[in-house]
C-alpha cells in the first residue's frame, strides 16, 4: 500500500503525535441549547489535561448546536485546540465545504471525518438523510482542499485551509476484517490519524492495534468512563458491539452498594487510569480519546493515575477572566 506523504504539521495534536508523545484527547458535545458559556466551561475543565478536544456534530443524529462556533470559541477563548467533527448526514458536499472554509479561516486545524449515524436514530427522525458523501469521500475532499487547494469539483480556493484529517474505526466490529479494510481505504485516501470507538476490554484494543499496525497510521483508542451501573448495563445489553468486562461490571456493582457515586468514580479512575498506563506501556497506541461528556471532573484524576503529567498552566484564572470578558451571561 502506498503511504501518502503529507506536507507540514499544522496542529499541536499532530506535532505531538509525530514526536511520539502519548496524546490524550477529550470530547465536548454542544447540545440543544444556546448556552455557549456552559460548553466553554466544560472545555475549560479539560484544558491542560488533553491535547485537543473533539467537538461533536449532532451525535447519534440528535439535532444540536452546530460544532463550528463552539470549536472556534474553544480555541480562541479557552485556548484549547479542537478536533472539529464533521459528519455527512446533514449537509451535502457544498455545505460541508463551506463550513470547512470557515473553520480553516479561524485556525481550526484538526478535522475528524465521519459518516454520521443515520437520521432515524436521532430525535428528529423525520429529516431527510443527506449522505452526499461518506467518511472516505470526505477525507478525499479535505485532502484535495489542503494538498491541491481545490473544491470538490476542482475549482481553485484562494488561500486553501490547513487541516489534519482523522477518521473513526471500531475495534469491537464484528466481523472485524471489513472494518480494517475500510480503514485501509480511508488511510489510502489520506486519513492521518484514527480515533476509535469506545473500548472497555484492553485485549480488544491490543488485538486491533496489532491488526492495523500495517497501516502505519496513529491510532488513538477511545474510552468512556461509566457514570453508573445503569449506564454500564445499558451499554453492555443495548449497544451492539460494546461489552463491559465482567470484572469491571462486578466492581461497579460492588461500588454502588458500598458508597454510591463517589465509589463508582473511584472504580473508574482506577480502571481507566490503569487501562491508559497499560496501553502506553505495552502498545503502539498514539494515545487515548476520553469521551467523558458530563464527567469532565473524572479526566484529571484518571490522567494522573495513568502517570501522565498535566501541563503546568493556571487555567482556572485564565479561563474565568477570558469568559467573563467575551461571553455575556446566558441565563
Amino acid at each position: 500500500m502506498e503511504v501518502r506523504e503529507v506536507g507540514g504539521v499544522f496542529s499541536t495534536l499532530m506535532r505531538k503525535i509525530k514526536n511520539g508523545e502519548f496524546v490524550i484527547t477529550g470530547e465536548i458535545e454542544p447540545e440543544k441549547t444556546t448556552n455557549i458559556g456552559e460548553i466553554l466551561e466544560a472545555a475549560a475543565k479539560l484544558k491542560g489535561y488533553v491535547v485537543a478536544v473533539n467537538i461533536t456534530d449532532n451525535p447519534q443524529g440528535f439535532a444540536y448546536m452546530s460544532g463550528l462556533l463552539p470549536s472556534f470559541l474553544i480555541q480562541e477563548v479557552v485556548g484549547l485546540e479542537v478536533i472539529y467533527q464533521v459528519t455527512c448526514r446533514d449537509r451535502n458536499r457544498l455545505a460541508i465545504f463551506s463550513d470547512l472554509l470557515a473553520a480553516g479561516s479561524v485556525g481550526i486545524r484538526n478535522i475528524l471525518a465521519l459518516t454520521g449515524d443515520h437520521v432515524v436514530l436521532g430525535d428528529v427522525p423525520q429529516g431527510k438523510p443527506v449522505f452526499d458523501l461518506d467518511a472516505a469521500q470526505l477525507v478525499w475532499m479535505i485532502r484535495r482542499m489542503v494538498d491541491e487547494g481545490v473544491d470538490p469539483a476542482g475549482n481553485p480556493i484562494d488561500n486553501p485551509p490547513k487541516f489534519h484529517v482523522g477518521v473513526a474505526a471500531n475495534p469491537n466490529a464484528n466481523p472485524l476484517e471489513p472494518e480494517i479494510l475500510k480503514l485501509e481505504r480511508k488511510v489510502s485516501v489520506g486519513a492521518e490519524f484514527v480515533q476509535t470507538q469506545v473500548v472497555y476490554d484492553i485485549e480488544v484494543a491490543k488485538r486491533f492495534l496489532d491488526d492495523v499496525s500495517y497501516l502505519k497510521v496513529p491510532i488513538i483508542i477511545g474510552i468512556c468512563p461509566l457514570k453508573s451501573v445503569k449506564m454500564a448495563k445499558w451499554l453492555d445489553e443495548k449497544c451492539p458491539g460494546i461489552s463491559i468486562p465482567k470484572d469491571l461490571m462486578e466492581e461497579l456493582i460492588r461500588a454502588k452498594e458500598r458508597g454510591g457515586k463517589q465509589a463508582i468514580w473511584e472504580v473508574n479512575i482506577e480502571y481507566f487510569g490503569d487501562f491508559i498506563r497499560e496501553l502506553r506501556r505495552t502498545t503502539r497506541a498514539a494515545g487515548v480519546h476520553v469521551m467523558a461528556v458530563g464527567m469532565e471532573e473524572l479526566i484529571p484524576p484518571i490522567i494522573e493515575r495513568a502517570g501522565l503529567v498535566k501541563e503546568a498552566i493556571d487555567w482556572r484564572t485564565y479561563i474565568v477572566n477570558k469568559i467573563s470578558k467575551v461571553i455575556l451571561p446566558q441565563k
Binding site: 465521519l114 471500531n170 451492539p240 458491539g241
Partner: protein, 218 residues
C-alpha cells in the same frame, strides 16, 4: 418489478368525490404481479366505488400503461367500441406513477392514482417485496458482488460499512437487517476479490441526475 400498494379507499374517494361517472384502468404488468391493479383488483374497485354511489361507466386493462404506444392503442380501441371512456368524468388508474402519468398526458380529463408506488424490487412471493434498485444510472453491481449498496445500505454508501454495523447488522431498523457492506464483503471474499472491496469510490456526480431523467438514443 415496480412495487405498488393500493391507496386507502378513503383517499381515493376524496379524489373522486366531485365526480360521478368513473372509468377504471388497470395495469397488466407490475400492478398485476403485485395484485394491486390486475383484473381482479379493477373489478373489486368497481364494486367498492359503486357501493359508494359512483357510476363506473367502464373498466379496462392496459398491458403496460407506462408504454405510451400501448396506452394510445387502448384509448383508440375504447373510442372505436363505445363512448364509455369519453362519458367518464374522471379516470382512476391502478398502476405505478409512470402509468398514471402517461394516461393523464393522453386524456383530456381528470386522472387519479389508485396506488402508491414504492420501489423497483424483487418479488419473493405475493406480499413480500424487497427494494433492489434505486435506478441511479451508474450501476456498481459489477464491483460489489451483485449486491447494491446504493439501495441496500440505509445510507447508500459507496465506501462502507459504516460505524452503524454491529454483528453484521445495520443500525437502521435496530440491528435486525443485514449490513449491505458486510454482505458485499462476504460475497467478494468468497469470489477472491477483496481488492474490489478495498477500492475507493469517489463521490457520485449528481449533475447527471439534475431534472427528470431522459434516455434518448434514437
Amino acid at each position: 418489478m415496480i412495487i405498488t400498494t393500493q391507496k386507502p379507499l378513503e383517499e381515493i374517494l376524496n379524489y373522486l368525490r366531485p365526480y360521478r361517472k368513473i372509468f377504471i384502468i388497470g395495469c397488466g404488468t407490475c400492478a398485476t404481479e403485485c395484485q394491486t391493479g390486475g383484473e381482479k383488483q379493477v373489478q373489486e374497485m368497481k364494486e367498492k366505488l359503486e357501493k359508494e354511489g359512483f357510476e363506473v361507466v367502464g373498466t379496462g386493462m392496459i398491458e403496460s400503461p407506462c408504454d405510451e404506444r400501448l396506452t394510445r392503442k387502448f384509448i383508440r380501441a375504447q373510442r372505436k367500441n363505445g363512448r364509455a371512456l369519453d362519458d367518464a368524468e374522471a379516470v382512476l388508474v391502478l398502476a405505478c406513477g409512470a402509468g398514471v402519468q402517461v394516461v393523464a398526458e393522453l386524456l383530456d380529463k381528470p386522472v387519479f392514482p389508485g396506488l402508491n408506488t414504492h420501489f423497483i424490487g424483487k418479488v419473493e412471493r405475493i406480499g413480500r417485496f424487497y427494494e433492489r434498485c434505486r435506478a441511479c444510472g451508474e450501476c456498481v453491481l459489477g464491483e460489489t458482488g451483485g449486491i447494491c449498496p446504493v439501495t441496500q445500505c440505509a445510507k447508500g454508501l459507496l465506501n462502507g460499512p459504516c460505524g452503524g454495523m454491529a454483528d453484521g447488522k445495520c443500525e437502521v431498523g435496530g440491528w435486525t437487517r443485514p449490513c449491505a457492506w458486510v454482505l458485499i464483503y462476504e460475497r467478494l471474499k468468497a469470489m477472491g476479490r477483496l481488492d474490489l472491496f478495498k477500492k475507493f469510490r469517489p463521490p457520485r456526480d449528481y449533475s447527471r441526475k439534475a431534472g427528470p431523467g431522459e434516455v434518448v438514443w434514437r
